[in-house]
């Protein structure tokens, strides 16, 4: 372990390649969004700024007779950030939102007429005036960085760009903002989100991709039992 850590130390002879914002591609992924479990992935090409920060509640423990902290209790973690986008006449996210809304219209109509018999008759239906960005389901934001400069890869002995990859897992939009002004030459649209985790990957060949959720568990959970088709594997 120690040897591996020493290997990763910065060396004086090493070249450092900075990452300008211009080489960061943003890709949105809506995992298993469709009824048949298909995932929607599309590059969001109008992002100007994206940020995230992480907060972990770590509670200090100080016992009597001590003047220093003897330990911590590790609490919950929160990832949050914001995205600033340039508003163009074409906007993939709004288009997606609009499409979902129209799909939703059919569903609402079906419910009202009880065609799909999914809800019992007589239940009040919510009248959805608009589907806004905060109505969107959770998604993952992929940040893919690839430098213009090539470097010799030790393993493959081939020249390849430097890559760095980050995934913000389980984003849910909390705030959205929009300003139009005669003072602005470009119009910006912002949203801020909360998320579950950020996965940073330096070596793309050395990781397993994860969509941010998993249903596998060694123990039967009470939530599993709510699915009428689920059969618990008790011994």
């Amino acid at each position: 372990m120690a040897e591996e850590l020493n290997k990763s130390k910065y060396e004086l002879s090493q070249e450092y390649t900075a990452i300008p914002g211009t080489i960061v591609r943003v890709v949105l992924e809506f995992p298993e969004i469709t009824n048949d479990g298909k995932t929607l992935v599309f590059p969001l090409d109008d992002v100007m700024t994206i940020s995230y920060s992480m907060y972990r509640a770590k509670t200090r423990v100080v016992t009597l007779g001590r003047n220093d902290v003897i330990g911590y209790g590790l609490g919950t973690r929160l990832v949050a950030g914001s995205v600033i986008r340039s508003v163009f006449t074409t906007d993939k996210l709004t288009k997606l939102q609009e499409e979902i809304y129209f799909l939703k219209q059919d569903e609402i109509r079906d419910r009202i007429t009880n065609i799909n018999a999914k809800v019992p008759k007589g239940l009040p239906n919510k009248d959805m005036l608009a589907l806004m960005k905060d109505d969107l389901t959770s998604f993952n934001i992929h940040l893919a960085v690839q430098t213009e400069e090539l470097a010799l890869n030790d393993t493959t002995q081939e020249y390849a760009p430097h890559v760095r990859y980050e995934v913000i897992l389980g984003c849910v939009i909390i705030n959205t903002g929009q300003v139009y002004s005669i003072e602005d030459l470009i119009t910006e649209s912002t949203f801020s989100y909360e998320a579950k985790a950020v996965k940073s990957i330096a070596d793309l060949t050395n990781t397993n991709y994860n969509t941010g959720f998993s249903s596998s568990t060694s123990m039967v959970s009470a939530s599993n039992l709510l699915d009428p088709t689920y059969k618990p594997a008790f011994k």
């Binding site: 209790g73 590790l74 609490g75 919950t76 009470a222 939530s223 039992l225 008790f234 011994k235």
Partner: protein
């Protein structure tokens, strides 16, 4: 964190499940739990003798655990499903299996009724609509404390479990209000007979 610090427990390190007290493998994790609290009481009285101002001994009284379990509402049958699945009728399993292996055309009305009842109690095929308070057979609540990971081998706490033995749910509380944007929670009050605490020394 290095060995400079000890890692203590928080709610993030605790998982709770309910289990059949007789069949250990029948255990269901309560994944929507947001809180659990309990207290164990035993009544005892000092017994004095003449000529001594100190108690001679203490009388042995009654033991009772009382507590509350709080979970985020997801379904009205969340906990009843779990109780139904772990089933508290070990003797009835054999009876049910015996009846199920019989030729239905040769079963009596009584046997059909018994089979229906046993399937309702022990199987999860039929969703229960009964109140949790009708589940009179006790189960165990197991609280696991585990903050161990590969990154903190030397400073983590010991894997421990606290088992509330023979739990009986006695009260269900739910409130819905437009004040605030809080998540709807269910509260269940329960009694139990005693508490068993264990520590694993294997980690």
């Amino acid at each position: 964190m290095t060995n400079l610090y000890t890692q203590f427990y928080t709610a993030a390190d605790v998982t709770v499940s309910i289990a059949n007290r007789d069949i250990a493998s029948r255990e269901v994790g309560l994944d929507l739990l947001t809180g659990i609290g309990y207290r164990h009481n035993i009544t005892a009285m000092p017994v004095y003798g003449l000529g001594n101002q100190l108690p001679e001994f203490y009388s042995q009284g009654n033991s009772l655990v009382t507590g509350t379990l709080e979970l985020s509402f997801k379904s009205g049958i969340y906990l009843t499903r779990a109780l139904s699945a772990i089933g508290n009728y070990p003797d009835n399993f054999a009876k049910r299996n015996e009846l199920q292996s019989k030729d239905p055309s040769k079963m009596t009305n009584e046997e059909f009724r018994t089979l229906a009842q046993l399937t309702r109690i022990n199987g999860i095929e039929i969703p229960t609509e009964e109140s949790i308070l009708q589940y009179s057979d006790p189960c165990d609540i197991i609280i696991r404390f585990d903050n161990n990971s590969d990154l903190n081998k030397n400073i983590a706490g010991y894997l421990s479990t606290i088992t509330l033995v023979d739990v009986r749910f006695i009260e269900f509380v739910q409130g819905v209000s437009t004040a605030g944007d809080s998540v709807i929670t269910d509260q269940y009050r329960f009694m139990a007979k005693t508490i068993v605490a264990r520590q694993s020394n294997t980690i």
